[in-house]
């Protein structure tokens, strides 16, 4: 780790101001950033800790929307998002207890790791990413692996999830990291079904629109018979080829539909 300064603002406004310095970087739960620093793969001159900002913490449910503060830990979502059980279950399946007690939704969604779980929930729910500056629809937010619509120094303050009629997330774990080798989030709304896939594509999280179309007419695993995604553009690594991941997308989508009931 290289030396750095640290600031601990208590409001979003202070944090935004602190992040104006060149080479300053936000630090939330540190579950991604700290290992990166330890390996000397990043060298921010200043870290701005978001952990002391009370206004970005907590889960609330209101009129069909669950709002999760950007600084809310995975453990808090697992325990507190009972109004959106599939979301709570997803949060409860991230990492291990230590990771869940430190890692936050804001950090996960800002990082947009191609194998992370939250991006599937955010995109699969058609959620809205709320920042200090604006609101960004999920469809506009994710822009390829580790790439998002966030501007430099922009802070995620909350994510607003419309609660679906039915939903489920099925994660097939990469054997070592237990991130998603492939994860599929399926959510059924009155106006249609959304299917978001993480772990699989070189473009990061994506919507499987053919499956959405098939399921919107007939929300059953059988509706997916014969549907498949192409292996082109799928991640190939030592844990699985693109063909394997493409195959898993179809298998897991069916399982997610079955699990959603």
């Amino acid at each position: 780790m290289y030396a750095f300064d640290i600031e601990r603002p208590t409001t979003v406004a202070e944090a935004v101001a602190a992040l104006k310095d060149e080479d300053a970087q936000a630090l939330s739960g540190g579950q991604t950033l700290i290992p990166t620093l330890k390996q000397r793969l990043a060298s921010p001159s200043k870290l701005v800790s978001l952990s002391g900002i009370a206004e970005t913490k907590g889960v609330s449910a209101d009129g069909g929307t669950v709002t999760v503060g950007g600084g809310t830990t995975h453990a808090a979502v697992a325990a507190g998002a009972s109004a959106y059980p599939a979301l709570a279950a997803l949060a409860g399946g991230i990492g291990d207890p230590a990771v869940r007690n430190r890692g936050t939704i804001g950090g996960s969604v800002a990082n947009n790791d191609p194998a992370a779980c939250y991006p599937a929930a955010v995109l699969g729910s058609g959620a809205t990413v709320v920042t200090n500056a604006r609101e960004i629809a999920a469809d506009d937010y994710f822009q390829g692996m580790f790439t998002t619509a966030l501007d430099e120094g922009e802070i995620i303050t909350a994510v607003k999830f419309p609660v679906p009629e039915k939903a489920a997330y099925i994660k097939f774990e990469q054997p070592a990291s237990r991130f998603a080798l492939v994860g599929v989030f399926v959510a059924k709304y009155a106006d249609g079904v959304r299917v978001a896939v993480t772990g699989a594509s070189e473009e990061g999280v994506f919507r499987w629109t053919e499956a959405e179309a098939a399921l919107s007419g007939n929300f059953s695993a059988g509706a997916l018979d014969g549907l498949s995604v192409s292996a082109d553009g799928m991640i190939s690594d030592l844990h699985g080829t693109g063909a394997y991941r493409a195959h898993l997308v179809a298998v897991l989508t069916k399982r997610a539909v079955a699990a959603a009931g």
């Binding site: 290289y2 070592a176 030592l238 844990h239 699985g240 394997y244 298998v251």
Partner: protein
């Protein structure tokens, strides 16, 4: 047997210390002010070094010393790590290319040490490392498990380190020519990274005349010899210590460069220095395990009796010889090549090859798991091809009870064994009768189910002789000095409990001392499942010496004949007297009488022969055919460990061993890319087995006491690993057989199993 007395499931006294963070590992006890060492390592797998400039690193903040190979040579150090060469078929010995502690001329694997930096903080040392200019011309990396290709060492033709043979090649060929049935199979045995919980670590301090090296290892004496040799010190002036050690598994048995460079630096600086590997550094540089492939063939007569066995193996040594690297897949593999079967005609040929990867050496079982893996995969395949029950085929070929002691074709002499009895118990405990029902249930849920058996045998290795010293101390307690070295197995509990049982001295009055070459002149360390048998054997001798001496002393003191005095493992009885002194009481009397000769006892003893633990493992797996995910669903072990001193600790050894074997079979996967970069260099990519990957292990024993040591014991430290690889692999093969899959090799990761399923469609 009466000597053995009390088998007790005593809980481990050291565990409270370990589990509450009170263990004293190397990194916990470094001397104050020790400088931090950081190793600058090769970023490439194979290259000629064209330049190495450490000037800027030397003048960086906080840096006290930077050492390169040239500096060590200039300082008069012998920079070559030693190793044992395997015997070649032609009577010569295997290759011994130089393995320097710091690279010079060439680098041969990613992570090879190049320069070591000593600074006041770790960050300063790492900052300085970034200032090192290292120039090189990259060479193609030789990575395949094959001879030939780009030479790793110019002087070793074909990259062939050794060509080992044992058995009778011609007689074997003849038996194959005459066989009624021949079965053959390619058996791959994947490379693993050992991943001890505590990484390798050391500190070194120099007091002006003596060197003290403290490091995590498996015995202090071999390292001491090497320190003396390489630094040109009188062995008298070298002290090596090993405190608590967090796992070794064979990997920590052997010399590694960092220890000796740290010693050199401590002497050069007159300051203590410390080094601890980080996790990726461990994964890059700790000796790997396994990594071989074998073509195995069995010949049968018309009645399905084995008439000959032949194996051709290629084994990866990595870039250099590690200490015992050449011996693992050759001589040690051969120890149990024929397993529990009556096979008198065999031929084993093993080629060891160099590659541009990290060294490979002993890993829990060291050659014996590998041999049993090949054999038990073969027995399973043979049963399928012959169309007979795999257990019946094994029973038909078991060495019968009446044939013991049994001389094997590779030179072992098995003392006892009753394999049918053990297998009967395993089938009962594992409910093999209920398997069909469980398979039907799995199938109803869309899953494939398989059952696999392995009947293993192990030959206990390591030094057969051992030492002990028992001191009666002034505070009324006792110290026991042992020549073994706990790596976390519970020696402190077992050896103090054993002495307590034999002498009546309360266990909490016994102080356990290990791992200090100043206090213990010689010992065998831990390895080859030797510790409990050799250490208790010599402790028995010491106890007998004490009893004899104390009997004589009491006879004099009480004016009775020696035969009027007896010791009942607790108290001395003196005929015609009401006195009934305990051993501690007698020691106190002797101290009062100034009989120093009765206060310290040393013993050396060699066990009469090796023991041969054996047993049956039965694994059941369930496979999700849509994803390829394998779940180890049911696991049963019945072992013949002879008499056990502490059955609970023995069972714990089996649990850990099974986890390591199942880990290799199901998830552990070392992957190098085509340039020799290790892709699985963190736990994000290298999948260790976790508690929830394993079922509860049903365990029982069917003891047939060994006749080769007074307690009738058999070693148990490695046995779990030896049995588990083949049982799991056979279960996976069983589950996939009906899908037409005929070649299954570990690791059975979801992706690989899915590929097998897809290819068979």
């Amino acid at each position: 047997m009466e000597k053995f007395g009390k088998a007790q499931p005593v809980k481990r006294v050291e565990d409270v210390r370990f589990l509450t963070g009170q263990g004293r590992y190397v990194d916990d006890i470094v001397p104050e002010g020790a400088l931090f060492a950081y190793m600058f390592r090769s970023p490439v797998a194979h290259a000629t070094i064209t330049g190495l400039n450490v000037d800027d690193a030397r003048s960086a903040d906080g840096v006290h010393l930077v050492l390169t190979a040239q500096d060590l040579l200039d300082g008069g150090m012998d920079i070559t790590l030693d190793s044992t060469a395997a015997p070649n078929r032609d009577g010569t010995h295997g290759a011994k290319p130089e393995r320097p502690v710091l690279a010079h001329g060439k680098v041969r694997f990613v992570g090879e040490p190049i320069a070591m930096i000593f600074a006041e903080t770790m960050d300063q040392a790492k900052d300085a490392a970034e200032l090192i200019e290292f120039d090189y011309d990259e060479l193609p990396a030789h990575l395949g498990l094959a001879t030939g290709g780009q030479l790793v060492h110019d002087e070793v033709a074909e990259n062939l380190a050794y060509d080992y043979g044992i058995g009778d090649e011609d007689a074997t060929q003849k038996a194959f020519d005459e066989a009624a049935h021949v079965v053959s199979l390619d058996v791959g045995d994947n490379r693993i990274i050992v991943n001890s919980m505590e990484p390798r670590a050391c500190f070194a301090e120099w007091d002006g005349s003596r060197m003290h090296l403290c490091m995590g290892g498996q015995g202090v004496w071999g390292i001491k010899t090497n320190v003396a040799r390489m630094l040109g010190l009188d062995p008298e002036n070298v002290r090596v210590t090993q405190p608590d050690v967090g796992g070794g598994f064979g990997m920590k048995s052997f010399p590694y460069p960092e220890y000796f460079v740290c010693c050199f630096a401590a002497r050069a600086l007159g300051k203590p220095v410390r080094w601890t590997a980080d996790r990726t550094e461990s994964m890059l540089t700790d000796n790997g395990g396994r990594d071989l492939t074998s073509l195995a063939e069995l010949a049968f007569d018309a009645d399905h009796r084995i008439t000959a066995y032949r194996i051709k193996t290629i084994s990866n040594l990595g870039a250099y010889n590690s200490g015992f690297g050449q011996m693992i897949q050759s001589f040690l593999f051969a120890r149990v090549m024929p397993g529990v079967y009556d096979i008198q005609t065999a031929w084993l040929n093993v080629l060891g090859v160099y590659t541009n990867t990290t060294q490979v050496d002993a890993y829990r079982g060291a050659g014996r798991p590998e041999a049993i893996y090949v054999l038990e995969r073969m027995m399973d395949r043979s049963a399928r091809e012959l169309g007979v029950d795999p257990l019946e085929l094994r029973r038909k070929n078991f060495i019968p009870v009446a044939k013991f002691p049994y001389q094997t074709v590779t030179g072992e002499n098995y003392d006892v064994g009753d394999f049918n009895r053990v297998l009967d118990r395993a089938m009962e405990l594992g409910d093999t009768a209920g398997y069909a029902g469980r398979k039907a249930t799995s199938e109803a849920a869309g899953k494939l189910r398989g059952m696999g058996v392995c009947y293993y045998i192990e030959s206990i290795l390591g030094d057969p002789d051992e030492r002990v010293q028992v001191d009666f101390e002034e505070d009324g307690g006792v110290a026991i000095y042992v020549g073994t070295q706990s790596n976390g197995q519970g020696h402190e509990t077992v050896f103090t409990q054993f002495l307590a049982d034999q002498t009546g001295i309360p266990a909490d009055k016994i102080r356990f001392v290990q791992g200090d070459s100043d206090l213990i002149a010689k010992g065998g360390g831990t390895g080859g499942s030797r510790s409990v048998t050799t250490q208790t054997n010599v402790t028995l001798k010491a106890v007998s010496d004490i009893v004899t001496a104390y009997t004589g002393y009491l006879a004099d003191k009480f004016g009775v004949d020696e035969d009027k005095i007896s010791f009942d493992d607790d108290t001395f009885r003196i005929e015609g007297s009401n006195e009934a002194p305990s051993m501690l009481d007698v020691a106190a009397m002797a101290r009062d009488d100034q009989r120093e000769d009765l206060l310290s006892f040393k013993a050396v003893d060699e066990i009469p022969g090796r023991s041969y633990p054996n047993g049956a493992h039965i694994a059941e797996v369930e496979i999700d055919p849509e994803t390829g995910k394998v779940t180890l669903d049911k696991y049963t072990v019945v072992d013949d460990f002879g008499n056990m001193i502490n059955p609970m600790l023995a069972e714990g050894q089996v649990h850990g061993g099974v986890a390591q074997g199942a880990g290799q079979a199901l998830s552990e996967h070392v992957v190098y890319d085509e340039d020799g970069q290790l892709l699985t260099a963190t736990f994000m990519d290298y999948a260790m087995p976790r508690a929830n990957d394993l079922p509860f292990v049903a365990f029982d024993t069917e003891p047939v006491p060994s006749t080769r040591n007074p307690m009738g014991m058999k070693g148990c430290g490695e046995a779990g690993t030896v049995g588990s690889m083949a049982s799991v692999a056979n279960a996976v093969q069983d589950a996939l057989w009906d899908r037409g899959i005929r070649q299954v090799d570990m690791p059975f990761t979801p992706h690989r199993v899915w590929q097998m399923l897809t290819a068979a469609e």
